[in-house]
């Protein structure tokens, strides 16, 4: 019997359809779409990107030259532009505003390595500290409400043809819908129980264990109860905190370690699938002091990783109703048994 499961945070129902796992089309898709050109993200090619915004590099090396560890540049094809005012307006029944925002590319290594799983833990920790620095910096721009940090690995996951490990950061002038739903869901739960919904999830998962993939050094990697996709994995800090940027350096290294292990398990166990991950963290809270009054207690930052194994049909987009062909319990068991 298939099951319908409800996401406890945002209330989305998901069909966990064990029957469908037998369908023939559940395999990772081919990675390449086109031939790769010269990589602008490799060390030595700094002049092929727009001028850097930020870099982790030795003091004596100038901007836009080799010698860096992590480098941030503006996107050459930005979704949103940094200059200008929002100018909110209406047009009949419709509302619109100018596309103001920031769109940055975080180059995670100076070597031509495609998958974050193949970076060292120390390097991944540097990437995380770069995330925190960039988000903190963008918060100073009062036009922005949220900074969304995400990664598209491989062509199927929406990356371009260049295979060089990187993530993207987009600062938006409104809180994105999906983020808002999660914040509202977490707040509602808190108002009712006076507990954090994510802390409760972690407690129950550690208790039942069937969906735990890794439990190391202050972090857990789980396959969520209402997974939308096969082998979806969430990484959460056990210690309650709503804000990723507040992470201390030691904890960043632990996060890097569980991240690397999780990505390696996906790579080895599922034949190097494409994936996306998204950092879910608190929005900028400088305005409206009362508005996010309980957010320090009710929200809990985490990372959601989605391997791209199935093609998402339009109806799943259109309805918000997902059919997951592998139970999260089977997925967790499988991933636990992969060496990494």
């Amino acid at each position: 019997m298939p099951e319908l499961r409800k996401d406890p945070v945002i209330g989305r129902w998901v069909i966990i359809a064990t029957e469908r796992a037998r369908r023939p089309d559940l395999s990772s898709e081919p990675h390449e779409a086109a031939k790769e050109k010269l990589c602008p993200f490799c060390e030595g090619n700094e002049s092929d990107t727009p001028s850097e915004i930020y870099a982790i590099r030795p003091k004596n090396t100038p901007k836009n030259t080799p010698g860096w560890d992590v480098r941030v540049v503006p996107s050459i094809a930005p979704f949103l532009r940094i200059e200008g005012e929002l100018d909110r307006r209406g047009k009949g029944v419709y509302d619109l505003m100018n596309g103001v925002g920031a769109h940055e590319i975080i180059i995670e290594t100076n070597q031509h390595i495609g998958n974050m799983a193949d970076l060292s833990e120390e390097q991944i920790a540097k990437v995380f500290s770069c995330y925190a620095d960039r988000i903190t910096d963008l918060e100073k721009d009062k036009r922005f409400k949220y900074a969304l940090l995400f990664k598209n690995y491989s062509w199927v996951a929406g990356a371009g043809i260049i295979k060089h490990s990187r993530s993207q950061l987009i600062a938006t002038p409104v809180n994105p819908k999906r983020v808002k739903e999660e914040l509202v869901g977490a707040k509602n739960y808190y108002d009712f129980h006076e507990r954090c919904v994510f802390c409760d999830i972690i407690r129950q998962e550690l208790d039942t264990k069937s969906r735990v993939v890794l439990d190391i050094d202050g972090y857990v990697a789980i396959t969520p109860f209402a997974s939308r996709f096969p082998f979806e994995v969430w990484i959460l800090p056990k210690k309650h905190s709503c804000d990723f940027t507040a992470l201390d350096p030691a904890s960043r290294l632990s996060l890097a370690s569980i991240m690397k292990k999780t990505l390696l398990k996906l790579k080895k166990g599922l034949n190097d699938p494409g994936y996306n991950y998204v950092l879910h963290t608190a929005p900028f809270r400088r305005q409206k002091v009362g508005y996010w009054k309980s957010i320090d207690y009710d929200y809990h930052w985490h990372i959601e990783i989605i391997p791209r194994l199935t093609r998402v049909a339009g109806f799943e987009w259109g309805t918000g109703f997902y059919i997951c062909p592998v139970t999260p319990e089977d997925a967790a068991k499988f991933l636990r048994e992969v060496d990494a």
Binding site: M1, P2, E3, L4, R5, K6, P8, I10, R12, W13, I15, I16, A17, R20, R22, R23, P24, A34, F79, R81, G84, V93, Y94, D95, L96, M97, N98, G99, V100, L148, F150, N152, W155, V156, G158, V174, P176, K177, R178, V197, I201, Q204, T208, A226, N276, Y277, V278, L279, E304, R311, V312, A313, G314, F315, E316, W317, G318, T319, G320, F321
Partner: protein, 331 residues
């Protein structure tokens, strides 16, 4: 400067690239190329599917044999099962419900390689009538709260079989996005005592720049807040909450506009794969909310959805709907 546009129904924001709009030629999409493997939906292979639930077939032919024009069977790999109780319960903090529902496949034509543009108007009308009949039949089952009709055409759009077919899923709850849409439409109705969708139709017919096609009963247009390039909505001009209550004349009009819309898209994008979903009101609900208006949302599969869209629910559209509509009108 690109624009941020807000969907008046669900409140979603979309980024529309009005600065450097992409032309159709710039989309490097995966084409649907028929492989013509042995197909359970073709004539002579009726035995490969679960037994038929309903069919339009020649007089004197028997169920599960050739001679049909439209055929409905249960999905061989159902996401939900028809037998059993819903049995809603909690496991600790989690909620769970039995996967009770119906999952049917409507085989639109016996021809393996005939998508909607290659069918006659009558053939399109026939399978649309079957959509209605199946919806009405399943609505009798009080366990079901929503009937979702959707088509995935082509492997890139998530179809596991290439033979043209539509799926019908009857659910014991209303899917999240639909529920939000209904709620959004309802609060607009409460505030203005008018249907939001009727207002949209009025504004679109006035401005004309996003309209692709129009006939007596329907308009086909690129929505102001498109999530995908060349997204299209087909909407009845007359206010109506339920697709399955459409009259025979309306179904005839719908068949024409659906076929013509897809033909125009496929003229621009050869071997295009796509999805469409019929958005209609929930069933067997007490009271029901006013101000909903059924429609079809049509999504061409031209781009790959990436991490930004997942995480944010924000979409980025590289071709403004005004430009897309213009291209489609002139095709």
């Amino acid at each position: 400067m690109s624009e941020l546009r807000r969907d008046p129904i669900g409140g979603r924001w979309v980024i529309v690239d009005t600065d450097h709009p992409s032309t159709p030629g710039e989309y490097d999409y995966e084409q649907q190329i028929y492989k013509n493997d042995i197909c359970p939906f073709c004539y002579g292979n009726e035995i490969m599917t679960p037994p038929e639930i309903e069919a339009i077939r020649d007089n004197g032919t028997y169920p599960n044999t050739p001679g049909w024009q439209v055929r409905v069977v249960a999905n061989k790999f159902p996401a939900l099962q028809i037998e059993g109780e819903i049995d809603r319960r909690g496991i600790g903090m989690y909620d769970i419900s039995g996967g009770v529902g119906a999952h049917e496949v409507i085989i639109e034509t016996p021809f393996h390689n005939k998508d909607i543009p290659e069918l006659s108007d009558q053939e399109v009308e026939d399978f649309l009538k079957v959509y209605c009949r199946r919806s009405l039949d399943l609505a009798k089952d009080k366990r079901f709260k929503y009937i979702m009709l959707f088509k995935n055409f082509g492997t890139p759009a998530g179809a596991s079989l290439e033979h043209p077919h539509t799926q019908l899923i009857a659910l014991p709850m209303v899917p999240k996005n639909v529920a939000e849409e209904i709620k959004g439409a309802h609060s607009y109705f409460e505030y203005r005592e008018r249907c939001l969708f009727c207002d949209i139709i009025r504004q679109e017919r006035q401005e004309k720049e996003r309209i692709v096609l129009e006939n007596n009963d329907f308009i086909s247009f690129c929505p102001f807040v498109s999530r995908f390039p060349f997204e299209l909505w087909i909407m009845p001009k007359k206010h109506s909450g339920h697709f399955c209550q459409s009259s025979a004349d309306e179904i005839k009009s719908l068949a024409w506009i659906l076929k013509e819309t897809i033909s125009r898209l496929k003229n621009i994008f050869p071997n295009l794969s796509y999805n469409y979903i019929i958005h209609t009101s929930p069933i067997n609900s007490d009271g029901g909310l006013e101000g909903y208006h059924w429609h079809i949302e049509f999504m061409p599969k031209l781009t790959r959805v990436a991490g930004f869209e997942w995480g944010s629910g924000f979409y980025v559209v590289a071709t403004p709907p005004e430009l897309a509509a213009e291209r489609l009108r002139n095709k």
